[in-house]
């Protein structure tokens, strides 16, 4: 049973608009979450993270929101740029490793 779920396999957004990528988790013991970005033929790279003691973390155009009661987090990208087109993985920190979602492929159209 998946502990970290990204229910949207893909998302298409116009350049300049907001991209919202969603992630749900099932284990209430998870207390740290990360987003990774992956371009084709490259390894995933860390993008932004959030601790469960916060409900928001912002880094430039990227903001992650955490709703613990709903076991839901989201990544907002504003404004979206064509270079943001990639696969985005949500991950939860577990003892010794990370548990990843299946990823959402974001396409930002010029």
């Amino acid at each position: 049973d998946q502990q970290v779920k990204q229910n949207s396999p893909s998302l298409s957004v116009q350049e300049g608009r907001i991209s919202i990528l969603n992630c749900d988790y099932t284990n209430s013991m998870f207390d740290y979450f990360l987003w990774y970005k992956k371009y084709p033929a490259e390894g995933p790279t860390f993008l932004i993270s959030i601790s469960s003691i916060k409900d928001k973390n912002e880094d430039g155009r990227f903001t992650v929101f955490l709703n613990k009661s709903a076991k839901h987090l989201s990544l907002h990208i504003v404004p979206s740029q064509p270079g943001d087109s990639a696969v985005y993985f949500c991950a939860a920190s577990a003892p010794g490793n990370l548990i990843f979602g299946k990823g959402t492929k974001l396409s930002v159209k010029p």
């Binding site: 990774y36 993270s49 548990i99 299946k102 990823g103």
Partner: protein, 115 residues
């Protein structure tokens, strides 16, 4: 160059052959990980290691063997490759510090095809 590297980047092999994928990191990170990425499954953990000579199974360990004789190296061996092991394999590492961040740093990946 500093960082985490994987070799080979691409490999084609046949069913039943033994294959070893190499991973090397220069940060002296304690933890190292092997993941496979498949369509519809995202990133799944195969094995991980908390330190030299300490390894543990992840979500999908069957058919794989790992070793960690040196901190900087974490090879992954497919003892008898099967078609279902065709995938992209990523190595990652992170520090031992149980700090605020739990960031893993990934290598560029190895694309393995088993015919």
């Amino acid at each position: 160059d500093a960082g985490i590297t994987q070799s080979p980047r691409y490999k084609i092999t046949e069913t039943g052959r033994q294959v070893t994928l190499m991973c090397h990191q220069t940060w002296s990170h304690s933890y190292m990980f092997w993941y496979r990425q498949d369509l519809g499954h995202g990133l799944r953990l195969i094995y991980y290691s908390a330190a030299a000579d300490i390894t543990d199974k992840g979500e999908v360990p069957d058919g794989y063997v790992v070793s960690r004789s040196k901190t900087e190296n974490f090879p992954l061996t497919l003892e008898s490759a099967t078609r279902s092991q065709t995938s992209v394999y990523f190595c990652a590492s992170k520090t031992r510090r149980e700090a605020v961040t739990d960031t893993q740093y990934f290598g560029p990946g190895t694309r393995l095809t088993v015919l």
